[in-house]
Symmetry: C2
Subunit: 195 residues, 2 copies
DNA sequence: TAAAAAAGTTGACCACGGTCATTTTTTTTG
DNA sequence: CAAAAAAAATGACCGTGGTCAACTTTTTTA
Protein backbone atom coordinates (compact mmCIF):
# COMPACT_ATOMS: atom_id res chain seq x y z
CA UNK A 1 0.00 0.00 0.00
CA UNK A 2 1.11 3.52 -0.74
CA UNK A 3 2.79 5.38 2.06
CA UNK A 4 1.33 8.56 3.44
CA UNK A 5 2.59 11.82 2.00
CA UNK A 6 5.27 13.38 4.17
CA UNK A 7 4.59 16.61 5.98
CA UNK A 8 7.68 18.01 4.31
CA UNK A 9 6.12 17.46 0.91
CA UNK A 10 2.97 19.32 1.82
CA UNK A 11 4.99 22.19 3.19
CA UNK A 12 7.11 22.47 0.07
CA UNK A 13 4.03 22.35 -2.11
CA UNK A 14 2.32 24.98 0.00
CA UNK A 15 5.37 27.25 -0.23
CA UNK A 16 5.41 26.90 -4.02
CA UNK A 17 1.73 27.73 -4.34
CA UNK A 18 1.98 30.63 -1.91
CA UNK A 19 4.93 32.03 -3.87
CA UNK A 20 3.00 31.67 -7.11
CA UNK A 21 -0.07 33.39 -5.67
CA UNK A 22 2.08 36.26 -4.48
CA UNK A 23 3.68 36.65 -7.88
CA UNK A 24 0.31 36.56 -9.61
CA UNK A 25 -0.92 39.26 -7.24
CA UNK A 26 2.09 41.40 -8.08
CA UNK A 27 2.63 40.97 -11.81
CA UNK A 28 -0.28 38.88 -13.09
CA UNK A 29 -0.52 35.37 -14.49
CA UNK A 30 1.25 35.85 -17.78
CA UNK A 31 4.41 37.30 -16.25
CA UNK A 32 4.83 34.48 -13.76
CA UNK A 33 8.16 32.68 -14.18
CA UNK A 34 8.90 29.28 -12.71
CA UNK A 35 12.37 30.53 -11.77
CA UNK A 36 10.81 33.28 -9.69
CA UNK A 37 8.43 30.86 -7.99
CA UNK A 38 11.19 28.49 -6.86
CA UNK A 39 13.37 31.42 -5.84
CA UNK A 40 10.69 32.72 -3.48
CA UNK A 41 9.74 29.27 -2.27
CA UNK A 42 13.40 28.50 -1.57
CA UNK A 43 13.47 25.29 -3.54
CA UNK A 44 15.35 24.02 -6.54
CA UNK A 45 13.79 24.27 -9.96
CA UNK A 46 13.44 20.52 -10.26
CA UNK A 47 11.30 20.46 -7.14
CA UNK A 48 8.69 22.54 -8.90
CA UNK A 49 8.20 19.87 -11.53
CA UNK A 50 8.06 17.13 -8.93
CA UNK A 51 4.99 18.85 -7.51
CA UNK A 52 3.39 20.08 -10.72
CA UNK A 53 3.45 18.36 -14.07
CA UNK A 54 4.16 21.66 -15.78
CA UNK A 55 3.63 25.40 -15.38
CA UNK A 56 0.13 25.25 -16.78
CA UNK A 57 -0.88 22.68 -14.18
CA UNK A 58 0.00 25.19 -11.48
CA UNK A 59 -2.07 27.80 -13.29
CA UNK A 60 -4.94 25.33 -13.39
CA UNK A 61 -4.55 24.95 -9.65
CA UNK A 62 -4.61 28.68 -9.02
CA UNK A 63 -7.31 29.64 -11.49
CA UNK A 64 -9.66 26.75 -10.75
CA UNK A 65 -10.48 27.76 -7.16
CA UNK A 66 -11.08 31.33 -8.22
CA UNK A 67 -13.69 30.16 -10.70
CA UNK A 68 -15.16 27.89 -8.04
CA UNK A 69 -15.55 30.84 -5.70
CA UNK A 70 -17.73 32.56 -8.29
CA UNK A 71 -19.71 29.39 -8.88
CA UNK A 72 -20.30 29.14 -5.12
CA UNK A 73 -21.77 32.61 -5.26
CA UNK A 74 -23.96 31.72 -8.22
CA UNK A 75 -25.18 28.58 -6.48
CA UNK A 76 -25.93 30.45 -3.28
CA UNK A 77 -28.00 33.06 -5.05
CA UNK A 78 -31.44 32.66 -6.57
CA UNK A 79 -31.92 31.36 -10.10
CA UNK A 80 -32.14 34.29 -12.51
CA UNK A 81 -35.66 34.79 -13.89
CA UNK A 82 -34.79 37.15 -16.73
CA UNK A 83 -32.06 37.44 -19.31
CA UNK A 84 -30.83 40.63 -17.67
CA UNK A 85 -30.57 38.91 -14.30
CA UNK A 86 -28.72 36.05 -15.90
CA UNK A 87 -26.13 38.15 -17.71
CA UNK A 88 -25.76 40.22 -14.57
CA UNK A 89 -25.09 37.11 -12.55
CA UNK A 90 -22.60 35.79 -15.10
CA UNK A 91 -20.55 38.94 -15.51
CA UNK A 92 -18.23 38.51 -12.51
CA UNK A 93 -17.31 35.06 -13.80
CA UNK A 94 -16.69 36.43 -17.28
CA UNK A 95 -14.55 39.24 -15.91
CA UNK A 96 -12.39 36.75 -14.05
CA UNK A 97 -12.01 34.49 -17.05
CA UNK A 98 -11.02 37.37 -19.30
CA UNK A 99 -8.82 39.24 -16.83
CA UNK A 100 -5.86 38.32 -19.02
CA UNK A 101 -5.64 36.92 -22.50
CA UNK A 102 -3.28 34.28 -21.15
CA UNK A 103 -5.78 33.28 -18.45
CA UNK A 104 -8.54 32.85 -21.01
CA UNK A 105 -6.27 30.65 -23.12
CA UNK A 106 -5.34 28.47 -20.16
CA UNK A 107 -8.99 28.11 -19.22
CA UNK A 108 -9.98 27.07 -22.73
CA UNK A 109 -7.11 24.61 -22.91
CA UNK A 110 -7.95 23.08 -19.55
CA UNK A 111 -11.73 23.24 -19.79
CA UNK A 112 -11.81 19.71 -21.11
CA UNK A 113 -10.09 16.96 -19.17
CA UNK A 114 -7.55 15.07 -21.23
CA UNK A 115 -8.36 11.91 -19.34
CA UNK A 116 -11.07 10.93 -16.91
CA UNK A 117 -8.39 10.42 -14.29
CA UNK A 118 -6.99 13.88 -14.96
CA UNK A 119 -9.95 16.12 -14.36
CA UNK A 120 -8.22 19.25 -13.12
CA UNK A 121 -9.67 22.16 -11.18
CA UNK A 122 -10.68 24.14 -14.24
CA UNK A 123 -12.26 21.15 -15.97
CA UNK A 124 -14.25 20.52 -12.80
CA UNK A 125 -15.58 24.05 -12.83
CA UNK A 126 -16.86 23.53 -16.36
CA UNK A 127 -18.79 20.50 -15.19
CA UNK A 128 -20.12 22.48 -12.25
CA UNK A 129 -21.17 25.31 -14.53
CA UNK A 130 -23.41 22.96 -16.48
CA UNK A 131 -24.94 21.62 -13.26
CA UNK A 132 -25.64 25.08 -11.91
CA UNK A 133 -27.07 26.41 -15.15
CA UNK A 134 -29.20 23.29 -15.55
CA UNK A 135 -30.63 23.81 -12.09
CA UNK A 136 -31.60 27.32 -13.06
CA UNK A 137 -33.61 25.90 -15.93
CA UNK A 138 -35.40 23.18 -13.96
CA UNK A 139 -38.05 25.67 -13.05
CA UNK A 140 -37.66 28.88 -14.96
CA UNK A 141 -39.58 31.12 -17.31
CA UNK A 142 -37.55 29.98 -20.28
CA UNK A 143 -38.15 27.55 -23.10
CA UNK A 144 -38.97 24.01 -22.02
CA UNK A 145 -38.86 22.15 -25.33
CA UNK A 146 -35.34 20.88 -24.71
CA UNK A 147 -33.59 19.47 -21.67
CA UNK A 148 -32.15 21.70 -18.99
CA UNK A 149 -28.73 20.18 -19.67
CA UNK A 150 -28.84 21.15 -23.32
CA UNK A 151 -29.87 24.67 -22.41
CA UNK A 152 -27.02 24.81 -19.94
CA UNK A 153 -24.45 23.68 -22.50
CA UNK A 154 -25.75 26.33 -24.87
CA UNK A 155 -25.33 29.03 -22.26
CA UNK A 156 -21.78 27.88 -21.73
CA UNK A 157 -21.09 27.97 -25.47
CA UNK A 158 -22.48 31.49 -25.77
CA UNK A 159 -20.58 32.76 -22.75
CA UNK A 160 -17.36 31.50 -24.31
CA UNK A 161 -18.28 33.03 -27.66
CA UNK A 162 -18.95 36.38 -26.02
CA UNK A 163 -15.69 36.26 -24.07
CA UNK A 164 -13.64 35.25 -27.11
CA UNK A 165 -15.02 38.22 -29.04
CA UNK A 166 -13.66 40.46 -26.32
CA UNK A 167 -10.11 39.62 -27.38
CA UNK A 168 -10.85 40.37 -31.01
CA UNK A 169 -10.17 43.92 -32.09
CA UNK A 170 -12.94 43.59 -34.68
CA UNK A 171 -15.59 43.01 -32.05
CA UNK A 172 -14.46 44.37 -28.73
CA UNK A 173 -16.22 47.68 -29.09
CA UNK A 174 -19.18 45.85 -27.56
CA UNK A 175 -18.88 44.67 -23.98
CA UNK A 176 -19.16 41.00 -23.13
CA UNK A 177 -22.55 41.66 -21.62
CA UNK A 178 -23.82 43.48 -24.69
CA UNK A 179 -22.83 40.53 -26.83
CA UNK A 180 -24.12 37.90 -24.44
CA UNK A 181 -27.60 39.30 -23.97
CA UNK A 182 -28.91 38.84 -27.53
CA UNK A 183 -27.37 35.38 -27.62
CA UNK A 184 -29.13 34.28 -24.45
CA UNK A 185 -32.38 35.96 -25.40
CA UNK A 186 -32.44 34.08 -28.69
CA UNK A 187 -31.38 30.85 -27.03
CA UNK A 188 -33.64 30.89 -23.99
CA UNK A 189 -36.72 32.74 -25.20
CA UNK A 190 -37.13 31.92 -28.88
CA UNK A 191 -40.24 33.04 -30.71
CA UNK A 192 -40.50 29.65 -32.39
CA UNK A 193 -39.90 28.99 -36.05
CA UNK A 194 -38.33 26.60 -38.46
CA UNK A 195 -39.71 23.57 -40.20
CA UNK B 1 7.95 55.41 -51.14
CA UNK B 2 8.59 51.85 -50.10
CA UNK B 3 10.76 49.79 -52.40
CA UNK B 4 9.41 46.69 -54.09
CA UNK B 5 10.00 43.38 -52.35
CA UNK B 6 13.00 41.60 -53.79
CA UNK B 7 12.54 38.39 -55.74
CA UNK B 8 15.05 36.78 -53.39
CA UNK B 9 12.78 37.53 -50.46
CA UNK B 10 9.81 35.86 -52.07
CA UNK B 11 11.91 32.83 -52.92
CA UNK B 12 13.24 32.48 -49.40
CA UNK B 13 9.76 32.83 -47.99
CA UNK B 14 8.43 30.26 -50.44
CA UNK B 15 11.18 27.81 -49.48
CA UNK B 16 10.38 28.23 -45.80
CA UNK B 17 6.68 27.64 -46.35
CA UNK B 18 7.32 24.67 -48.63
CA UNK B 19 9.63 23.15 -46.03
CA UNK B 20 7.01 23.68 -43.33
CA UNK B 21 4.26 22.12 -45.46
CA UNK B 22 6.46 19.10 -46.10
CA UNK B 23 7.19 18.68 -42.41
CA UNK B 24 3.52 18.99 -41.51
CA UNK B 25 2.73 16.33 -44.10
CA UNK B 26 5.31 14.03 -42.58
CA UNK B 27 5.00 14.49 -38.83
CA UNK B 28 2.01 16.77 -38.27
CA UNK B 29 1.67 20.31 -36.98
CA UNK B 30 2.58 19.79 -33.36
CA UNK B 31 5.91 18.12 -34.11
CA UNK B 32 7.08 20.88 -36.44
CA UNK B 33 10.30 22.51 -35.25
CA UNK B 34 11.59 25.82 -36.52
CA UNK B 35 15.09 24.35 -36.62
CA UNK B 36 13.90 21.67 -38.99
CA UNK B 37 12.13 24.19 -41.21
CA UNK B 38 15.21 26.35 -41.67
CA UNK B 39 17.40 23.29 -42.15
CA UNK B 40 15.26 22.10 -45.05
CA UNK B 41 14.84 25.58 -46.46
CA UNK B 42 18.58 26.09 -46.31
CA UNK B 43 18.40 29.34 -44.37
CA UNK B 44 19.63 30.55 -41.01
CA UNK B 45 17.28 30.46 -38.06
CA UNK B 46 17.11 34.21 -37.86
CA UNK B 47 15.79 34.35 -41.40
CA UNK B 48 12.69 32.47 -40.30
CA UNK B 49 11.80 35.24 -37.89
CA UNK B 50 12.48 37.90 -40.48
CA UNK B 51 9.68 36.36 -42.54
CA UNK B 52 7.30 35.30 -39.79
CA UNK B 53 6.66 37.05 -36.51
CA UNK B 54 6.75 33.75 -34.68
CA UNK B 55 6.11 30.06 -35.18
CA UNK B 56 2.39 30.44 -34.63
CA UNK B 57 2.16 33.01 -37.40
CA UNK B 58 3.49 30.41 -39.81
CA UNK B 59 0.91 27.95 -38.51
CA UNK B 60 -1.76 30.58 -39.08
CA UNK B 61 -0.49 30.89 -42.63
CA UNK B 62 -0.63 27.15 -43.25
CA UNK B 63 -3.89 26.38 -41.49
CA UNK B 64 -5.83 29.40 -42.74
CA UNK B 65 -5.85 28.40 -46.42
CA UNK B 66 -6.89 24.87 -45.52
CA UNK B 67 -9.92 26.21 -43.73
CA UNK B 68 -10.59 28.52 -46.64
CA UNK B 69 -10.61 25.57 -49.01
CA UNK B 70 -13.42 24.02 -47.00
CA UNK B 71 -15.30 27.30 -46.89
CA UNK B 72 -14.99 27.55 -50.67
CA UNK B 73 -16.65 24.16 -50.90
CA UNK B 74 -19.41 25.21 -48.50
CA UNK B 75 -20.00 28.38 -50.45
CA UNK B 76 -20.11 26.53 -53.76
CA UNK B 77 -22.69 24.05 -52.51
CA UNK B 78 -26.37 24.67 -51.83
CA UNK B 79 -27.56 26.03 -48.52
CA UNK B 80 -28.50 23.15 -46.22
CA UNK B 81 -32.26 22.84 -45.73
CA UNK B 82 -32.23 20.45 -42.78
CA UNK B 83 -30.16 20.04 -39.63
CA UNK B 84 -28.78 16.78 -40.97
CA UNK B 85 -27.65 18.44 -44.15
CA UNK B 86 -26.06 21.20 -42.15
CA UNK B 87 -24.09 18.98 -39.80
CA UNK B 88 -23.11 16.86 -42.78
CA UNK B 89 -21.82 19.92 -44.58
CA UNK B 90 -19.93 21.12 -41.53
CA UNK B 91 -18.20 17.88 -40.65
CA UNK B 92 -15.23 18.15 -43.04
CA UNK B 93 -14.44 21.54 -41.56
CA UNK B 94 -14.73 20.18 -38.03
CA UNK B 95 -12.48 17.24 -38.87
CA UNK B 96 -9.82 19.59 -40.18
CA UNK B 97 -10.03 21.86 -37.17
CA UNK B 98 -9.74 18.95 -34.75
CA UNK B 99 -7.15 16.92 -36.64
CA UNK B 100 -4.74 17.72 -33.82
CA UNK B 101 -5.24 19.14 -30.39
CA UNK B 102 -2.50 21.65 -31.15
CA UNK B 103 -4.24 22.75 -34.35
CA UNK B 104 -7.48 23.37 -32.50
CA UNK B 105 -5.65 25.44 -29.91
CA UNK B 106 -3.92 27.53 -32.57
CA UNK B 107 -7.22 28.09 -34.35
CA UNK B 108 -8.94 29.23 -31.17
CA UNK B 109 -6.06 31.52 -30.31
CA UNK B 110 -6.00 33.07 -33.77
CA UNK B 111 -9.73 33.11 -34.41
CA UNK B 112 -9.93 36.64 -33.11
CA UNK B 113 -7.65 39.26 -34.58
CA UNK B 114 -5.52 41.04 -32.03
CA UNK B 115 -5.76 44.24 -34.01
CA UNK B 116 -7.72 45.36 -37.02
CA UNK B 117 -4.47 45.65 -38.93
CA UNK B 118 -3.47 42.13 -37.96
CA UNK B 119 -6.33 40.06 -39.27
CA UNK B 120 -4.55 36.81 -40.06
CA UNK B 121 -5.67 33.99 -42.33
CA UNK B 122 -7.48 32.09 -39.57
CA UNK B 123 -9.23 35.17 -38.24
CA UNK B 124 -10.41 35.89 -41.78
CA UNK B 125 -11.91 32.44 -42.06
CA UNK B 126 -13.94 33.06 -38.93
CA UNK B 127 -15.36 36.17 -40.49
CA UNK B 128 -16.09 34.24 -43.66
CA UNK B 129 -17.80 31.50 -41.70
CA UNK B 130 -20.27 33.99 -40.32
CA UNK B 131 -20.95 35.39 -43.78
CA UNK B 132 -21.53 31.96 -45.27
CA UNK B 133 -23.73 30.76 -42.45
CA UNK B 134 -25.71 33.98 -42.53
CA UNK B 135 -26.33 33.51 -46.24
CA UNK B 136 -27.72 30.08 -45.53
CA UNK B 137 -30.25 31.63 -43.20
CA UNK B 138 -31.36 34.42 -45.50
CA UNK B 139 -33.90 32.10 -47.02
CA UNK B 140 -34.11 28.88 -45.07
CA UNK B 141 -36.66 26.76 -43.25
CA UNK B 142 -35.31 27.80 -39.87
CA UNK B 143 -36.40 30.28 -37.27
CA UNK B 144 -36.75 33.84 -38.49
CA UNK B 145 -37.31 35.70 -35.24
CA UNK B 146 -33.68 36.79 -35.02
CA UNK B 147 -31.19 38.07 -37.56
CA UNK B 148 -29.28 35.75 -39.85
CA UNK B 149 -26.05 37.09 -38.39
CA UNK B 150 -27.05 36.16 -34.88
CA UNK B 151 -28.04 32.68 -36.03
CA UNK B 152 -24.69 32.36 -37.77
CA UNK B 153 -22.75 33.38 -34.67
CA UNK B 154 -24.70 30.83 -32.70
CA UNK B 155 -23.85 28.07 -35.15
CA UNK B 156 -20.21 29.04 -34.82
CA UNK B 157 -20.41 28.92 -31.05
CA UNK B 158 -22.03 25.49 -31.09
CA UNK B 159 -19.56 24.10 -33.59
CA UNK B 160 -16.72 25.20 -31.33
CA UNK B 161 -18.48 23.75 -28.29
CA UNK B 162 -18.93 20.41 -30.05
CA UNK B 163 -15.32 20.35 -31.19
CA UNK B 164 -13.99 21.26 -27.76
CA UNK B 165 -15.92 18.40 -26.23
CA UNK B 166 -14.10 16.06 -28.57
CA UNK B 167 -10.88 16.73 -26.69
CA UNK B 168 -12.47 16.06 -23.33
CA UNK B 169 -12.28 12.48 -22.15
CA UNK B 170 -15.53 13.00 -20.28
CA UNK B 171 -17.47 13.69 -23.46
CA UNK B 172 -15.67 12.22 -26.43
CA UNK B 173 -17.66 9.00 -26.49
CA UNK B 174 -20.05 11.00 -28.67
CA UNK B 175 -18.86 12.13 -32.06
CA UNK B 176 -18.73 15.80 -32.93
CA UNK B 177 -21.72 15.31 -35.20
CA UNK B 178 -23.77 13.59 -32.53
CA UNK B 179 -23.13 16.51 -30.20
CA UNK B 180 -23.68 19.18 -32.80
CA UNK B 181 -27.03 17.97 -34.06
CA UNK B 182 -29.10 18.52 -30.91
CA UNK B 183 -27.42 21.90 -30.44
CA UNK B 184 -28.34 23.08 -33.92
CA UNK B 185 -31.81 21.58 -33.75
CA UNK B 186 -32.52 23.48 -30.55
CA UNK B 187 -30.93 26.65 -31.91
CA UNK B 188 -32.42 26.71 -35.39
CA UNK B 189 -35.80 25.05 -34.93
CA UNK B 190 -36.99 25.92 -31.42
CA UNK B 191 -40.51 24.97 -30.39
CA UNK B 192 -40.94 28.36 -28.76
CA UNK B 193 -41.21 29.03 -25.06
CA UNK B 194 -40.07 31.37 -22.36
CA UNK B 195 -41.65 34.43 -20.92
C1' DT C 1 19.16 0.86 16.30
C1' DA C 2 21.39 -0.30 12.01
C1' DA C 3 20.51 -1.44 7.33
C1' DA C 4 17.47 -1.21 3.53
C1' DA C 5 13.95 0.94 0.98
C1' DA C 6 11.17 4.54 -0.33
C1' DA C 7 10.19 9.42 -0.74
C1' DG C 8 11.74 13.84 -1.62
C1' DT C 9 15.10 17.27 -3.32
C1' DT C 10 18.68 19.06 -6.16
C1' DG C 11 20.97 21.73 -9.89
C1' DA C 12 23.47 21.00 -14.00
C1' DC C 13 21.76 20.28 -18.30
C1' DC C 14 18.74 20.16 -22.49
C1' DA C 15 15.20 21.69 -26.09
C1' DC C 16 13.37 25.05 -28.53
C1' DG C 17 11.38 29.52 -29.62
C1' DG C 18 12.98 33.93 -30.30
C1' DT C 19 16.59 38.22 -30.55
C1' DC C 20 19.98 41.26 -32.46
C1' DA C 21 24.48 43.19 -33.80
C1' DT C 22 27.04 42.12 -37.73
C1' DT C 23 27.72 40.79 -42.51
C1' DT C 24 26.24 40.09 -47.27
C1' DT C 25 23.50 41.26 -51.13
C1' DT C 26 20.75 44.29 -53.81
C1' DT C 27 19.19 48.75 -55.19
C1' DT C 28 19.68 53.59 -55.66
C1' DT C 29 22.20 57.83 -56.33
C1' DG C 30 25.27 61.04 -58.83
C1' DC D 1 30.77 52.70 -62.66
C1' DA D 2 31.83 53.55 -57.69
C1' DA D 3 29.94 55.01 -53.44
C1' DA D 4 26.08 55.22 -50.45
C1' DA D 5 21.87 53.47 -48.76
C1' DA D 6 18.52 50.11 -48.07
C1' DA D 7 17.09 45.34 -47.72
C1' DA D 8 17.98 40.72 -46.56
C1' DA D 9 20.33 37.06 -44.29
C1' DT D 10 23.20 35.29 -40.66
C1' DG D 11 24.36 32.63 -36.46
C1' DA D 12 25.93 33.22 -31.90
C1' DC D 13 23.34 34.08 -28.05
C1' DC D 14 19.43 34.39 -24.69
C1' DG D 15 15.12 33.21 -21.86
C1' DT D 16 12.41 29.98 -20.11
C1' DG D 17 10.08 25.60 -19.51
C1' DG D 18 11.22 21.08 -18.58
C1' DT D 19 14.41 16.56 -17.56
C1' DC D 20 17.09 13.40 -14.94
C1' DA D 21 20.89 10.99 -12.60
C1' DA D 22 22.76 11.79 -8.24
C1' DC D 23 22.08 13.02 -3.53
C1' DT D 24 19.61 13.73 1.05
C1' DT D 25 16.00 12.82 4.21
C1' DT D 26 12.43 10.03 6.08
C1' DT D 27 10.23 5.69 6.88
C1' DT D 28 10.16 0.83 7.16
C1' DT D 29 12.09 -3.62 8.19
C1' DA D 30 14.09 -7.04 11.24
Amino acid sequence: MARATQKRTLETRARLIAAAEAIVAEVGFEALRVEEVVLRAGTAKGTFFVHFKDKDTLMDLIIGPRIDAHLDALQAGPAPRTIEEMTGALMPLCDLMTCERYVFDVILRYSGAAGVAEIGPIASTFGRQIEIFAQWFDDAPFRRDVTADLLAEGVQAFVIQAMAAQFCALHNSQSIRERLEPYLRAWLTPAAGGT
